[in-house]
Subunit: 650 residues, 2 copies
């Protein structure tokens, strides 16, 4: 770890060895002009290393003289010792103003799965186990059927009772037993309920106990993610995400529902999602270096529509009043029976849903995050096209869904994109020159902006007074970056020659409106649900955020735009893809599978559209941060002091 | 009912109105020459109706004068009143001798399934039930998922708990519920074990409770039989049997096992038997006037090899020492998953086996006949190519299998055939002229002889001294019916012009040898098994015979050839196709399904080939009836008195 001091701001931060200097500056809340996203092209991010050592950071844009003076391009420099770094700024600027340019990042703690914690809490009940057995060979006095030989041995020597055997095992056992002289590994699938039976789902020749794997999958409307998990230690061996092939039949849930009602539509959408799943399975299994026969189980989670399409269940009544799904609980299914290219022995477990719009993906998040067994009163928010909200703890749970639109995932935004390479994910702005500092995923020239970048950009511009509380630009500002094209006012984040797309990357007023609508839906949904259960923001012990809208979100910025209520950032956790996390957890322990049915029964669903106060709350939330500034007292105070400082400086 | 008195024999019998006169004579033990099987062609069966009325019996073979004298052809005449009938015989023949010509038939009582008896004994636990439900329609306050609505209603109003729902039901429920305003019939499949769950396997619009059907099937090596059963009353609505398509790949079990080991052989044999099953299903479902969707369950029984081929399980080790099947217990399976053309909701239950050569067909017979819950010590014999034997009662069961060869089913017999139209099924012989009396199935000209006909013919000829105890003809007898062709001695049952096949129907010495080997295997198997369990014939309370070798067998004749031990005929029962009967019983009550696992565990299997005394017993049984005549004291006495009579007459 190295200490880096930035001058003249006099801000210090501790970062790991090799950290990128411009990212360290952003994290410390130090603005450095940087248009090109960190690829060293624009040459604007020159800084002077006054003390200490950096690696790289030298390009042809720096003269010999510059280099000798200690100039480096921050975006390319990697920190190799304690440093003192000076940002060249006009000497007249007050440090106070400098420190208004940006604020240190306050990202949520990321919650990881801890298998040891599960073990300690006795929550670790492996759903599939392998046992190595050396069976006696048959003789005329002992010519038990092959299956009976195996089952009797398990009873006598491993205290295994109440066993049933799959047809696929009966089919393969004669050959497998005789491959290595009746030395075999049996795969035992444990019952979810205590009254259930242990199923023998596979037999393999010899000792294969160290090769036992599971698959977790998140079936998203846009993207499907899969992981191969090592059941010995819970490690993710490989992961891959790909667009859900159903996108060709409609971008969002509603258009899929409409398509499913056409003749053959349901079958088409089912086939297409199975194709995508098989593509991902093939890739992650190959990447993990695993034999397909070694996969013992698969768990899938998705919203109610995605799940019904996956299972080829007519979803027609999901979008019709009063919004009735066919089922919310699904029996264990043979994966190959659904068309998945997995062994005949693999059972697919599909996460149950609560209602038409609070699906298995949310239930998976509630299970995977551990919220359902926590004492703390928790607000769980899955931030995406559909904003789902769960409030509660181990005793009770309430949930609701609101349509936020696709802004958080870069949809409906002119240069919006998903959180992949080239997306502007972090941003600050120079309050004097209004020049940007863009940080992109992968430190490459920008292609567009993703959800988390959008939140930060809009929050920063609002706090700096560049946009007003309706999201409109101050057209009087003296910069060529704010301009009107075809009657639409926009800010140029990066000029065409600094990008990968040969045109300017811009942020427009309609983009900001879309973001405001999305955060308004999310926030008013939370407030309505809190009100319905007779609570308010102050009662919350913590917030768990899930969503694929970016690898992380700056909590202060999320509160600045009014996406999150103001709460101590220490109480906010981020779990990323909650659906995938829950699927993975279910692969690791049967406790989740056992508990989930009770949890879904416990989750009381509120239809926001049927709640009279929701529309009022939504309209009130269509401002930055809200019509009622008193709901955001910290921001109110900051804006007040900023105004005072500005007035004193002018 | 009419009384018929035959003269000069002075024998009387009571028969139902319309009974065929020649069959009545046979039943009474009265010989009438009749070569053509009852089609009126040979004209030999002329009798004089001295009193009473018959219908028909008149052909161009009778002159006007004959008719006026009361002559009729017995094979065509139907009894319409009490009768006195005179058989024209040489007046010099003593009535005692006449009465040696034939003996009255003593067939076994036929055991039928009695649903009322099951109800009384509380054994009637229907495996599938239908319930008609009028569900409340969804509203915004009550927008439960469709499945939850159904399950909740069953809980609240029908005290149904622990319910699970099949994917096929989840798939169809949205449309079905809305077809008749949420009025539906749910099909509930009851768990076999008390700890299990009730499964909802089907939903239908409106009230369909009176339409609930099952299928029972016997998967025989040669023939497959299917029945449609009405689950309301246990009635058989339709039945059909067809050759197992696998016959093209080998006539017997061993040749199928050999074929299954060829590349693709297992898949071929599996596909072919499924094709035959589908052909039968189609036919019986159509014939029963049932909609395929109304079939709720199917039960199948077959020998171990047939079952493994049906389930596509490699049967390779069944024929290899030490004769190990893959499994003897099979999980419930989705019928459509096996390729059967039945609804997705239909579960196939496959009868468990005991060992490689005591299969599910025998277990089905043990269950279906009720032997497993009887106090009486029972000998169960399934008489076919493979002779299976079970001895025991409600407390213990022992079983064994012996290879009898195909003689009982007409195989390996020169003019042998299965018990279908044109088969000689009954027979007697004139001791003076040695002319035959053939009765065929369907009263048509003979095509051949079936198992039960063969047993009667051989027994009759032995008792009359026409063949000796090694089955060899007395070549000194004065008749052209006994002749030597190509060094093989044979008896002509019917001349070519009296048959349907344009050649003589004969019974040869090799035919008789085959029958002796078959009965020898059966009998010595029974004796060996009795000895192994420390019992002998006198300990038996009853014998249950099963098998497709004929619609009935004459018990005295079966004892005469030494197939059955001598036992009071009242204690012998015939159940026909035991496999099919057991499959049908399982369709009617879950008690059988529940008990069967324990029963198979209880059935101790003896490998006759590994039992040292079996071969000695077999060799001793290769005579008519046996080397040790003392095992057949009644027959010994009859032969003695016959000899005395013959001596006194000559």
């Amino acid at each position: 770890m190295h200490k880096v001091r930035f001058l003249p701001h006099n801000k210090e931060i501790t970062v790991p060895d090799g950290e990128n200097l411009i990212r360290a500056a952003m994290e410390a809340g130090v603005h450095i002009n940087a248009s090109c996203g960190g690829e060293g092209v624009c040459g604007k991010c020159r800084v002077i290393v006054e003390d200490g050592t950096v690696e790289d950071g030298i390009t042809e844009m720096l003269s010999q003289d510059d280099m000798e003076k200690g100039y480096r391009q921050a975006c390319l420099a990697r920190i190799k010792s304690d440093l003192t770094v000076r940002i060249p700024v006009e000497s007249t600027i007050d440090a106070k103003v400098l420190n208004l340019q940006a604020t240190p990042r306050r990202t949520a703690r990321i919650r990881h799965i801890d298998l040891e914690e599960l073990r300690e809490k006795e929550l670790f009940v492996p759903p599939v186990e392998k046992k190595y057995l050396e069976l006696p060979e048959p003789t005329v006095q002992d010519n038990l059927p092959d299956v009976t030989r195996l089952v009797s041995f398990l009873k006598a020597n491993h205290d295994e009772h109440r066993i049933e055997v799959d047809l696929s095992v009966i089919r393969k056992i004669p050959a497998i037993l005789r491959e290595e002289n009746f030395k075999v590994t049996a795969t035992l699938a444990r019952p979810v309920r205590d009254s259930g039976k242990t199923r023998i789902i596979n037999v393999q020749p010899g000792d294969k106990t160290d090769r036992n794997f599971a698959i977790a999958m998140d079936i998203g409307t846009t993207t499907i993610y899969g992981q191969v998990i090592d059941l010995k230690n819970g490690k993710i061996l490989s992961q891959y995400g790909d667009f859900n092939g159903q996108i060709s039949y409609g971008e969002d849930v509603i258009s899929r529902l409409v398509y499913a009602e056409k003749p053959g539509g349901l079958e088409t959408l089912h086939g297409v999602v199975i194709n995508t799943i098989n593509k991902i399975l093939k890739r992650i299994i190959l990447k993990a270096g695993v034999d397909p026969d070694e996969i013992s189980t698969i768990t899938l989670a998705g919203n109610t529509t995605m799940t019904q399409l996956l299972l080829r269940i007519d979803p027609g009544y999901i979008r019709r009043f009063p919004y009735v799904p066919s089922a919310t609980l699904y029996p264990p299914l043979r994966a190959s029976g659904l068309g998945m290219e997995l062994g005949d022995h693999v059972t697919a477990l599909v996460y149950p849903a609560v209602s038409s719009y609070v699906g298995g993906d949310i239930v998976a998040g509630v299970m995977g995050s551990g919220m359902y067994r926590a004492e703390e009163l928790t607000l769980y928010m899955d931030i995406g096209t559909n904003a789902e909200i769960v409030i509660g703890n181990q005793d009770w749970l309430a949930c609701a869904a609101a349509s936020a639109g696709p802004a958080f995932e870069g949809g409906g935004i002119k240069l919006g994109m998903r959180a992949t390479e080239g997306a502007i994910e972090d941003f600050s702005i120079d309050p004097i020159t209004l020049e940007p500092m863009n940080i992109t995923i992968g430190n490459v020239r920008p292609k567009g902006i993703c959800g988390s970048g959008l939140i930060i950009a809009v929050a920063t511009m609002f706090e700096m007074g560049i946009i007003d509380n309706r999201g409109k630009f101050d057209r009087d500002l003296d910069t060529d970056r704010i301009r009107v094209v075809d009657d639409i006012c926009e800010y140029v984040l990066a000029w065409a020659d600094e990008t990968q797309i040969d045109r300017d990357v811009v942020l427009t007023e309609p983009d900001i409106e879309n973001l405001i609508r999305a955060k308004g839906a999310m926030y008013s949904g939370c407030m309505t649900l809190l009100e319905e259960v007779g609570l308010n923001v102050h009662d919350l012990d913590r917030i768990i955020m899930a969503g694929g809208f970016g690898s992380y979100v700056d909590l202060e910025k999320a509160m600045t735009i009014g996406l999150l209520p103001e709460i101590d950032p220490e109480r906010v956790m981020f779990i990323g893809n909650g659906s995938l996390m829950g699927a993975r957890m279910s692969s690791l322990t049967n406790r989740i599978r056992k508990d989930v049915v009770e949890v879904t029964k416990k989750m009381t669903n509120f239809e926001l559209s049927e709640t009279s106060s929701f529309m009022d709350k939504y309209v009130a939330a269509l401002f930055l941060p809200h019509t009622d500034m008193n709901q955001f007292p910290k921001l109110k105070a900051r804006l007040k002091s900023r105004k005072a400082l500005k007035n004193s400086n002018s």
